[in-house]
Symmetry: C2
Subunit: 324 residues, 2 copies
Amino acid sequence: MKISSLGEIKLIDKIRSQVKLFSNDIIKGIGDDAAVLEYNSKYYMLLTTDTLVEDDHFSVRWFKPEQIGSKAIESNISDIAAMGGIPKYALVSITLTKNLEVDFFDKLYKGIAKKCEKYRISIIGGNLSSGKKISIIISLIGVVEKKNLCLRSDAKVNDLILVTGTLGNSRSGLELLKHNKCGKSIDYYLNPTSKLKESRLLVKNKINAMEDVSDGLASEVLNICNASKKGAVIYKDLIPLEKNTIIDAKKVKKDPYNYALYGGEDYELVFTINKKELDSLNKLKNKLKFSVVGKILPKNKGVYLLDKDKKIKLNYGYEHFRRS
Amino acid sequence: MKISSLGEIKLIDKIRSQVKLFSNDIIKGIGDDAAVLEYNSKYYMLLTTDTLVEDDHFSVRWFKPEQIGSKAIESNISDIAAMGGIPKYALVSITLTKNLEVDFFDKLYKGIAKKCEKYRISIIGGNLSSGKKISIIISLIGVVEKKNLCLRSDAKVNDLILVTGTLGNSRSGLELLKHNKCGKSIDYYLNPTSKLKESRLLVKNKINAMEDVSDGLASEVLNICNASKKGAVIYKDLIPLEKNTIIDAKKVKKDPYNYALYGGEDYELVFTINKKELDSLNKLKNKLKFSVVGKILPKNKGVYLLDKDKKIKLNYGYEHFRRS
C-alpha cells in the first residue's frame, strides 16, 4: 500500500503505537501542539517542531523568500501559543538546492531572524543540508507557567467553544493565487501571524482546552474532542468570517465556510471555557477579538456542524499525502 | 552568486552574523556539536538537530529503510556524546514521498524506534510532511552533568589529541558501494554507531576539548583549533586505520589516510587531554580503544599534518552544496 492511500492520520497512529517513553518527567508526549516536560518549580518546558517543504507548504512563485522564513517561525510559535506558553529558543534546519541564489538564502534567513528578534527567540543551533527542494524545519522550545498550561484534553461537557479572530482567510488567499486572481485575503496566506499575545491574555483567564487552527476548525475541534473524550456541536452561522474572505471566495465560486472548517493555516486559537467565565472573558473584548462558535457535548453525541436544523458530521480537513 | 559557489562554511558564517541571543541562560549557542542551556543545579541541557536527506546523505539503493532510521538517530546521538552528555528526548520529523510504500515507512520508523529503545530516548513529538525526496530531521535533547561538559573551545597548548577507534571506515564503505565493489568497510557506512558509552567513560577522566568525527579528522581538529584559538599538528603515521579499510581503499585505488582526514561519518570521538592525564586514561584501555594522533600548538603554528618530515596544511573536508 502507498503512503497516499493510507493518509497522515493513520500514519501518526502507526507512530504512536511504536513510541515508548523512558522518563517520568514527560507531562505530555506526542498528541498535542507541543510536548510538555517538567522543567522547574514554576515552569514546564514546551517543545515543538514544524516543517515547511517547497511546493507542499509554499511555492516560490507566490512567496518572497523573507515571507517563507517568517511563516516558518510563525507556524511554530502558533504551537507554543496553543499551549499557553512563551517561545524562547529555536533550532533552525534548512535544506537548500545547490542552484539557489545566495541572495535568496540571505532573505529567507532574514525573515527567520527578524521574527526571532520580534519575539525575542534565541536561535541556538540548526544545520544546513542540500536537497532537490527547499525546506525549513524549525524546532521551537518554550516555557509555560504550570498553572497556565492548556492541553487539548481539558475540555469539559457544556464548555463553550470559542475562536479568536476570523477563519478561512488563509485558504481563501491560496485559492485566489491558484486561480490567478487578486484579493485582500492573499495577504493572510502569505503573511500569517501566530496569536501569541492573544494566547497569553487568554491563559490569564480560566480557559480549559486550547489549540491553534492550523488544519481548519473541523480538525481542531475533532482533536480537542478526541483528546478530551467528548463530543461537540459547531453552529455554522456563528463561525466568524472576514467580509473580504466572503468576497474572495465568491471570485472562485467556493464556500467560505468550507475554508473556515477545512482550510487551515489561519493560526487563530480555538479554546473552550466554562460558560460562567464568559463575563470575565468579555472584559478582554477591547484587547482581543473572539467569538463563541459551539459547545462541548458528551462523547456519544458525536462531533457535528449544525447548519440551521441540519446536523453534518465533521471530518478531518487537510491531510498530507492524500492526492487532491 | 549560487549556493554551490559559496559553500557551507561561509553560509554558516552568514547565519552567525545574524543570530542574536535574548536569554542569559544560554551557555553555548551556535558553534559546537550541541547547544548548551542552563537546566538545574546539577545539569545543563543539550540540544542538537541533524538532517538526513535522500541522495545527499543516503541512497535507497544501498540503505535498507531500517538502516536509514538507525543512522538518523545515531548521527544525532553522536553530537550529544561529543558534549559528554546523555540523550533523553527526540523530536522526529519525516518528509515522505506520496508514492512511498507504507512498508518502507514502517521499517524506517522501526529503525528509529529500536535505537531509541536501546538508548532509552523518549520520542516526544515530531511531524510528517510530503515532498519529492525522503528526509529525516531529528532534534535530540539531552543532559550533561555541569562538571562533565566538553566544549570544542577547551583545548590547551601542549594537550595531546586523541581519537577513539579507527578512522576512514565509513568513507571507504561508501566508495566501495559507488564502485560496485564488496568489502567489510561497507558495514561501517551503512550501520554507523555513535560512541556514547565511550564518551561517558572519557568525561569521567579529565579531558579538555571534545568533538565527534562526522566530517573527517581534519575538519574536526580545525573546529577545535578555531574555537580554542590554537594550532595543532597531526602525525599521519599515528592515525589509526582498520586493516580492512586499507584493503578496501586499495580496491578503488584511493589513499585510506585521505578517508580518515576528509571522509567523515565515522562518528568516533576526537578529544584533547593534558599529557599528565594519559596514565589515568590508559587504565581504560580494556574498555575503550583510543590512540594519540597529535598535539595542540600555539595558534601561530597553524593546523597541519606531519607526513614524515613534510608539513601539509589541513583544510575542511566534506562541505554540503559544493559540487564534487
